[in-house]
Symmetry: D2
Subunit: 276 residues, 4 copies
């Protein structure tokens, strides 16, 4: 466990593997409710051939909160400064949802610092529809009712198929999450994080992003639906797209083997230029 102090705030991060100048680094950018811990089950595979960097963004997990409201730009700057602090000149980046929107903004702003990226369950721009959904989350968060917050967020994060098939697991998650969702601190973090994503918009940047990109869609993703990733694929210069049937927004949890395969296999290719 390590702390990077940035703008007088503590940023929690973990490194698996030995970081040096020749390391082929994978950085994970969490989804909005996630943290470094969410990826524990993935570490063994992700760090087999790569050095793995996980960290909590502002208002996530064990990193400091930011009291005033902000946009995702501060998360982009945090990533840049964290990489520089660790001496990582260029990294492979995998992000899901909130984390993937940071990845897209980072690729637009600091293209030389990103080697390849895998972005899952993400949009090019927060639509009025998605903004209203976020507003609903935040209005409920303000009430402090953790059970209500659970019920208006979590079902939309998993596919109905997974939710029904793994109902026992979901019930255990409910027991685990409702107490957390009932704490003022967590809800205030969620309110600020949700708000920060409202202005996400890389529409104009897409045609300039040359980073080799693999995009992951889930066919039952009801927050960032597949048509959004088709848009990304059509407007990025160098992107391929895969889609996961019967899978919801939290693709990493529903199909961990496939998610890992895509990440390891995309970052692990020596070259991406096939002369067929």
């Amino acid at each position: 466990m390590s702390i990077f102090t940035y703008q007088e705030k503590d940023i929690y991060y973990e490194i698996d593997g030995t970081l040096d100048i020749n390391s082929d680094v994978i950085v994970i950018l969490n989804g909005i409710m996630m943290s470094t811990k969410s990826w524990d089950a993935f570490v063994e595979n992700f760090s087999k051939n790569h050095v793995l960097l996980r960290y909590d963004m502002f208002d996530q997990g064990q990193s400091s909160k930011i009291e005033e409201s902000y946009t995702q730009t501060i998360q982009v700057e945090l990533l840049k400064n964290l990489l520089e602090h660790l001496g990582i000149a260029q990294a492979n980046i995998v992000g899901i949802s909130y984390g993937a929107s940071i990845a897209l903004q980072f690729a637009a702003k600091y293209p030389t610092m990103i080697k390849r990226m895998v972005v899952a369950n993400v949009v090019a721009k927060t639509s009025p529809w998605l903004k209203d959904i976020g507003d609903g989350w935040n209005e409920v968060a303000k009430t402090g009712n953790g059970l209500a917050y659970y019920h208006i967020t979590i079902p939309y994060i998993y596919s109905p198929q997974f939710y029904t098939l793994h109902n026992d697991w979901m019930e255990k998650r409910k027991e685990l999450l409702v107490p957390l969702f009932s704490t003022r601190t967590f809800l205030d973090r969620m309110i600020r994080l949700t708000k920060s994503a409202e202005t996400h918009d890389v529409i104009k940047d897409l045609p300039n992003i040359k980073t080799p990109t693999l995009i992951i869609s889930s066919e039952e993703d009801y927050l960032t639906p597949p048509f959004e990733q088709k848009y990304l694929q059509e407007h990025l210069q160098n992107a391929e797209l895969v889609s996961i049937p019967n899978c919801g927004h939290a693709s990493m949890y529903e199909v961990p083997k496939t998610f890992t395969a895509l990440v390891l296999g995309f970052f692990g290719q020596t070259k991406l230029d096939y002369q067929i």
Copy 2:
């Protein structure tokens, strides 16, 4: 405007056209938040070659509320008694969402009273997933916060594409609906209606339903997703299925021309037996 008194409650209904023994009747079964009024724009077309019967179920629109909790069975019985009261021996039934689940239950219980049916945006059984979504709606309804209730329900009822394209219309709906959603009476009705749908389950009935059926799916339906209607089509004896691209749960509002075409065209065929 007419009132049918049933179990000492007032049931509001409207008939367009002249009802007699030879009438080819279409009955509309509302979605959960809808009422007789929701269909005003459809009346001219629906009543052109048919007699049209619209009504508000218990706890809908101008019909009486029911204080204690109940299951959808009382809505099924209401429909049966209303038809008998009006001397309608057999009717074509079109239902959407909540109304379509009543249609399925009615077809299972009173098969001779239903000629054909069009069921849109509906499931065979309320899954644990859908139940939890309903619970979330109800927990927010209890708080009385109309804006929160709007934001946690309406975005999931329209497709993101429609919501974004018709943002002005959605904003006007918000102005219209938030005051309604802020009244205790409406929210208590919604709580009971939502609760009544929890036990909906026609899985075992499907193979016995012989009613000629047309099923409507919407590709961006995030409450009753397309795989649910595929299940229905595979398990009903006599059903065809259509799907609407870029359309959400409220298919009647998003594609009124197509919705009407399917209803009129399916009920209007003299015979359904094609010798190709």
Copy 3:
């Protein structure tokens, strides 16, 4: 049975219902291998509230052949002249595949003569891919091998699901069609019809077509796949789109009830302007 003599050729047509100045007419435009007879099972429903006009285009069914090669323009002109000959100032047009491409070209060229249209399983432009498929058909047609022609065309016209489920019916069709497909006359007609579709291209016309349009896609259409109709819907001014799951290119045969519902219901609406 009636004959319209046009450019010294015989054009076969049939009218169901009594044609007069107030008739609300439906005209059917056949797919490439079809003829007036293909629609016999649909006549009762299609002529219930409308006057129905069916006809065979040049090189189809009982109409004359054209020896030299031609483009679809002659079919568009034929339709215009046939309508004028019959005194039909404006008609509803339903076309499938080849017939639907004629409908689109007709709507672009003679907009006042078309009231509404339903176009099924059609493209805006014959792509290099579709052209090569047509070339394959024609190369086999030249050999005169009717069984080969059957096997390289018919399986792509039905969905695998339908083909497998109705294998007996398909086998009967094979017995019926292979002798026909083995005649030089039929194959030469097919060669010319196929060739005439190569230059189909209404891409530039689409934004100017204001005809109220309903587009039918089939999810297992392997000749004019769903993305082609999405393109049409996005570029036409006034079009809605429905998609049929588990259905192939010959949607009228696979889902006759749904196909008829869409046609009758779309043409039967008094007005198409819904004030929701």
Copy 4:
């Protein structure tokens, strides 16, 4: 270049990397028209962390032909004997189309010899529909017309989107392939290979196959459409499924980066058991 003599026939194979008892081996099973050479562009990546074994099955590439007709069982036995000959006790197997059906049969028959598999663009059973398509191929193959054979096979192997976008590349392929498709030897091989796949059927085996499996679907696959792979995924014990939008049957050629990512990433995971 190496030759394995099996049943007095020559089997051509290539190994990249140094094979020993600890090697983690990937074996490639070709699609029907493919050969060892088809994978040249993939060798660098596939052999980075694995020993790569490619070979031509009977009637493929540089391996011997078999004059009499046969079923796919001989290809399954060939694979088993080749692995034993090379001292490979267990291998990761990746197969596409014809090769993937061999992989499924092999997993059913010799489960201990297969560690994991990636199967792309494959069916559980050759349906009457697919059989008729194969019959069409073979009837044209008998005529010896290479151009016709090209046009009735190749367009269905690529997606219309790829075919149109890479029209120049397709034209070059046509120049390359038509002469090959015009040789009696090649066509006779194709006839036998196609015929051998007619009896492919692992429906009853699927529930017993425990091999960890990743299945690849292409959304525009018109020979082995996505519903076929959904069937596989639902009936295998341990399989995940990904789908590639805008991609046709030859997924390895259309999206080589994604195809490689899935293969390398699935075989490269140390363990596949995620405790989420």
